[in-house]
Symmetry: C2
Subunit: 348 residues, 2 copies
């Protein structure tokens, strides 16, 4: 079996060539090529054996602009959420400026891709992949690596550490500044509804909240720390529990704009006015923050900039696969609107 | 110049072949092929001459599944709006089930594609194109037609008539049922804030509103008919004008959910409660309708079904280009939530 042109592109001597993998798998080079490109006409058993060898032998096809399509893939959790839509719009803007098409796929409820996603990606041979609040199973990750298709994450949640290069935002600072803003207005009884404590972003924001209270010498009431899921419903449930409890807070810091809308609804149902009776701060600064009544004070996550950096990073990794990179967090900032004001003097 | 395999696929005798177009343009077949596929290496002058001839001579490349990529293109106005996001999510769902990749591009403020869009599409050779509240210039339309790339519109606005097959929804019925619901609750002073009167959807919804009032023997007050742009800001401005006017309505029918949020804000600023002091109905039934406080009664536009039908139609048109088709409107339905209630007895 003679070396093919694909072999010639594989530089490091320590890595297997296409023909070596074919010989070890006892199949033709054409069959290995089919597996590499996600084509049909290969039995599941053979495909699985070839995939294992590609991984084990550290096969690594050097991708070049000419061997890939001018496409970037986005795998996005909740495409039709305000967050997903804003991320896709941000990536599309920079991709279209560079003449690159953007292929969008929805991640499933598990944040994982749907069946067939990885095969379809291998057939399309994109320049790279951007995950938006999405995760990849290890075997998909290995398959993409052996084809030199780089993966970058826009990670709003601080997902459990992987070796995926990621663009996040400064969660601790966001939590700190939001809480500091409320303290500056004169609030002392400030509650937080955070996200699931399995997510690093939740922990960082909560830690920023505690640090701001500590710095002001205000003790944190355990009753005022609640856990939600970033959704409207948990904002409503936890917000109602807080506002109708024995020691109602005068301000609530929610962990997403959508969750803040749930707190709005809890206040409305209880006959409380915003900000006169309770101040509310959100997180993300999506369009819905401006649309809320009253417009929502919130922590701005710089999604457009994150999308642009993710695009540039995945493009650089396509050209320079050995580029060292782990994670960059972009700055968050507070956007003050009408949902926060000084607390009313207490009657008691 | 001998016929190429591309010529063989052009069936009707009345249509020019690739080599005829090349001879007329005094260029090689390879050059015509470059123009057809949106490739570089052709002068603007030559490209323009070849494009004109392709159009004039009714050149029509018969596209087949093997000559096109397994991609569908979506050109979408306001990707990151709740409406755009819901449409993209609906198309992605059905496309991924069929193993088709979805390339998403943003239309500009004019609803037209950005520069370079048509060239990029020709290079990608998709199965077809779905417009979401977007428009194509005539020359792009002609270029796509000569490559047999079908175009289908998801058209929420009833854009000025073109020959583009489109999937819309029943606007007149939506306007009629929303108004009938308010009449059924006992309202007599019912205002409407509609969209721009250049859009057929606006006219149809307004006509449905008038018909429902006529049917109930309620005269339409000219002051109660207002024009907006489907945005929050015009909902706020027109809502405030209506609610602080001499003859305030007891119910307002807005033309989009986002516009209805503007009316919510007008009510809030004026100290009016929803639905106790004023009932509000929206249009679209996007997620923001459920998230509003109180949750918004609205007319549901069946976007997921529209997306599915648009996908199936563009796929059929790819396989059967001669398929006769103009427009299908899917049924709208009323979703009653908490923003509507009987009017309060008048004090006067």
């Amino acid at each position: 079996m003679s070396p093919t042109s694909e072999d010639a592109a594989v530089a490091p001597a320590s890595r297997a060539t296409l023909s070596e993998v074919a010989a070890l798998a006892n199949v033709s080079v054409a069959t290995v090529s089919k597996v590499l490109n996600g084509r049909t006409g290969v039995s599941d058993e053979t495909r699985s054996r070839v995939e294992s060898l590609l991984g084990e032998r550290n096969y690594n096809r050097r991708a070049s602009a000419s061997s890939t399509a001018p496409l970037i893939e986005v795998l996005c959790f909740e495409i039709d959420s305000p967050f997903g839509g804003a991320a896709i719009a941000g990536i599309e803007r920079v991709a279209s400026e560079h003449g690159i098409g953007l292929v969008v796929s929805a991640a499933q409820d598990s944040h994982l891709p749907g069946p067939g996603w990885a095969d379809a990606v291998l057939r399309r041979q994109p320049r790279g992949i951007i995950l938006v609040a999405a995760l990849l199973p290890d075997d998909d990750r290995a398959r993409l690596r052996s084809r030199s298709i780089p993966v970058v994450a826009i990670d709003p949640y601080g997902a459990p550490a992987t070796d995926t290069p990621s663009i996040g935002s400064a969660d601790w600072n966001g939590g700190f500044h939001a809480t500091q803003h409320l303290i500056g207005l004169g609030h002392r009884r400030i509650a937080i509804i955070t996200g699931p404590d399995s997510m690093l972003a939740s922990t960082a924001r909560l830690s920023g909240y505690r640090a701001a209270l500590d710095a002001a010498g205000i003790p944190v009431s355990p009753d005022h720390v609640r856990y939600g899921e970033f959704h409207r419903q948990d904002g409503f449930v936890e917000g109602r529990a807080l506002l109708s409890g024995d020691d109602p807070p005068t301000a609530i810091f929610a962990s997403s704009d959508i969750q803040a809308l749930g707190v709005y609804e809890a206040a409305r149902v209880l006959g409380l006015r915003i900000p006169e009776d309770v101040s509310i701060v959100g997180y993300d600064d999506l369009s819905i923050a401006q649309w809320a009544g009253p417009p929502l004070t919130t922590v701005r996550v710089p999604l457009a900039e994150m999308a642009e950096q993710a695009f540039q990073l995945v493009t650089r990794l396509h050209d320079e696969p050995e580029l060292a990179f782990t994670r960059v967090d972009l700055a968050t900032s507070l956007v003050v609107r009408e949902s926060t004001a000084p607390p009313r003097p207490r009657g008691d």
